[in-house]
């Protein structure tokens, strides 16, 4: 698989015929190779126009675009477009072609041999998670989510270094959208293309973008930053208002529990003995304590029970109701804590190894970074 090429927009402008104001003002943007850059902004911010200038569906009025260092004007439009994957919201599958024929579109015009096309088509439907039995179907026989996957497979068919996606998940329902977003990230882990994606959904932007470009009306680049930076430090009022009032909540989705400093005095090893546990529960000053033995979290015990117990063996800890993984997002951790009525969630890896407790305070501090 060929991996991505960097895309560079320099002084890019577009003024449509008959319009006094430019749709895109001089715009400079560097899209690092192998990364996902999301263009976002309100209607009329020129995000789709910018995207369509990259594969010359729209010709810029001024400025240059290079892909992998080469000016896109040096190639014919058809040549250029065959080397750029293109996915749109309405998918635009050819209704009169089977799924296999749709996916094979670009390899076929490139004159690949039949056997190579067949192999590639099968490889791609596997890659996007479609069943091979769908290959002989027509697009109308597929669900919206399946069609979108076929659209992605078709775009990737000739293994282009660059993938352009114009609101690719805008037409599917929220559940399917979330799944397709996750699948895109999984796919990107495998193919490492340079992806430019347009959306108007800020949640989508921060969820899948390595970097997010916030555009204002007229193609003014207001901020270009990684999602967490964007949410933590919006450059101006426009960006802040565009990001919405729940910036911190959104940031929660971007950090994992493993990134927190899990300092907590509300748990102790059972080996320290009854006296040690009693000291610990007093030190914790919350009236309860988590018990850990052999690297595993055993449960919660109240201060009362600890004081009344005759020996460590008398202790009957309450099993934890809130559990998270180190790779869980802070958002999931918060959710688990809020629904469990615990003040803390137990962090365990897949094999059950205990690595600490997450409390609300730790989450707050995590966002303060």
């Amino acid at each position: 698989m060929s991996t991505g090429s960097a895309i560079s927009l320099t002084g890019l402008t577009k003024t449509f015929a008959g319009s006094a104001t430019p749709a895109v003002e001089p715009l400079d943007l560097e899209v690092p190779s192998g990364s996902i850059v999301v263009l976002i902004g309100p209607s009329g911010c020129g995000k789709t126009t910018t995207l369509r200038m990259i594969n010359r569906l729209i010709e810029p009025t001024g400025g240059t675009i290079t892909i992998g260092g080469q000016d896109i004007r040096e190639r014919s439009t058809t040549d250029l477009r065959r080397s750029i994957g293109y996915v749109i919201q309405q998918v635009g599958l050819f209704p009169h072609r089977t799924i296999a024929q749709n996916v094979a579109t670009v390899p076929k015009v490139l004159g690949w041999e039949k056997a190579r096309i067949t192999d590639r088509v099968e490889e791609l439907v596997d890659l996007v998670g479609l069943d091979r039995s769908l290959l002989t179907r027509y697009p109308a026989e597929l669900s919206g989510g399946q069609q979108q996957r076929v659209g992605v497979a078709r775009a990737l068919a000739a293994d282009p270094p660059v993938l352009l996606m114009d609101e690719p998940f805008g037409a599917v329902d929220p559940i399917v959208r979330a799944r397709l977003q996750r699948e895109l990230l999984d796919l990107q882990d495998k193919v490492r293309k340079t992806i430019v994606l347009v959306t108007h959904d800020i949640d989508e932007a921060v969820a899948i973008g390595d970097k997010v470009a916030v555009l204002n009306v007229g193609g003014v680049l207001e901020q270009y930053a990684a999602p967490d930076d964007l949410l933590a430090r919006p450059a101006n009022d426009f960006v802040a208002s565009f990001l919405g009032t729940e910036r911190s909540i959104k940031r929660l989705a971007l950090s994992t529990v493993a990134e927190l400093t899990l300092e907590s005095d509300t748990w102790a090893e059972v080996q320290v003995g009854l006296e040690g546990l009693r000291a610990a529960v007093i030190g914790a000053r919350v009236g309860w304590l988590g018990l850990v033995a052999d690297g595993r979290f055993r449960g919660w015990i109240s201060e009362d029970a600890l004081m009344k117990a005759g020996s460590v063996d008398d202790l009957v800890p309450l099993p934890p109701t809130a559990r998270v993984r180190p790779d869980s997002s802070l958002r999931e951790a918060l959710e688990v804590i809020l629904t469990s009525r615990s003040a803390a969630a137990v962090v365990e890896d897949a094999s059950g190894r205990f690595s600490g407790l997450v409390e609300l305070e730790a989450i707050r501090q995590g966002l303060a970074r």
Binding site: R82, Q90, G92, H96, Y138, L142
Partner: protein, 255 residues
């Protein structure tokens, strides 16, 4: 009942009617001499007269030739006009006006006028062809226009050339609308061919005109029935062709 159903039953009825009449005539054992009055249908003319089958066949064959000639020529010209109209949008209005104007000229007048300069066959074909243009061009352009914007956008974005997009994407998708135009044009032409009898052509129309001239109603009835059958059969044929060429149109819904 579906459109398809109507065609089936219509065709079946016509065939049954003819077969029934033939059987009746044979059973009755009528002969040409026994008919004195002037009935609507003289079965003995239809089934016992030796020359009748050949004459009917000839008339039908000429009718078909005139129809196919006009529809074929009309299709060729319309493909050219539609391609121009699709590529250069501003030409669509003038092309529609021009073909619409041709369509409004009374057929009797057009056949007669053209006959003063050209031979019968040329006059007939030119006039018949000109009547097909409006319907064919409009349907061809509407068919291409009806291709969803997302589909053409995707075709462009994937790097299909304009010609390839037209031939492999737009044309196949426009086919149902184009074939619908062909069906209307053909059925209309089958009817119009009859009128070319006024310039000594006409196929089955000639038969009908003869019937009027000689008060021989059988020819009028037989000519009409055959003309209608021809129209129905051709329409059905085109429908079949469309079904054959658009397999994707009948497989819908999630599996």
């Amino acid at each position: 009942m579906s459109r398809r159903g109507w065609f089936r039953w219509g065709t079946a009825l016509v065939v049954l009617g003819i077969a029934g009449a033939w059987a009746q005539a044979r059973i009755a054992g009528l002969s040409i001499e026994t008919q004195a009055s002037n009935p609507l249908v003289r079965w003995e003319w239809l089934f016992l007269r030796e020359e009748t089958p050949a004459e009917l066949w000839q008339a039908t064959a000429q009718h078909l030739r005139l129809t196919f000639g006009a529809v074929a020529a009309g299709t060729l010209i319309s493909v050219v006009l539609s391609t121009i109209a699709v590529r250069l949008r501003w030409t669509f209005a003038p092309i529609t006006v021009a073909t619409g104007f041709l369509y409004t000229i009374p057929s009797v007048a057009l056949f007669g006028l053209l006959r003063t300069r050209y031979s019968s066959i040329v006059a007939a074909e030119v006039a018949l062809t000109s009547y097909t243009l409006l319907i064919l061009v409009r349907n061809m352009v509407a068919g291409i226009d009806g291709v969803p914007g997302a589909v053409t956008d995707a075709a462009d974005g994937l790097g299909l050339s304009r010609r390839r997009r037209l031939l492999t994407v737009e044309l196949p998708l426009a086919l149902p609308v184009i074939v619908a135009g062909l069906r209307i044009a053909t059925v209309t032409t089958v009817g119009l061919v009859g009128i070319t009898a006024i310039i000594q052509l006409g196929g089955l129309g000639q038969l009908i005109f003869d019937g009027f001239g000689t008060q021989y109603y059988t020819k009028i009835v037989v000519g009409s029935v055959l003309s209608v059958s021809l129209a129905v059969l051709l329409d059905l044929g085109f429908y079949r062709l469309e079904v054959l060429l658009t397999p994707w149109a009948r497989r819908r819904g999630t599996p």
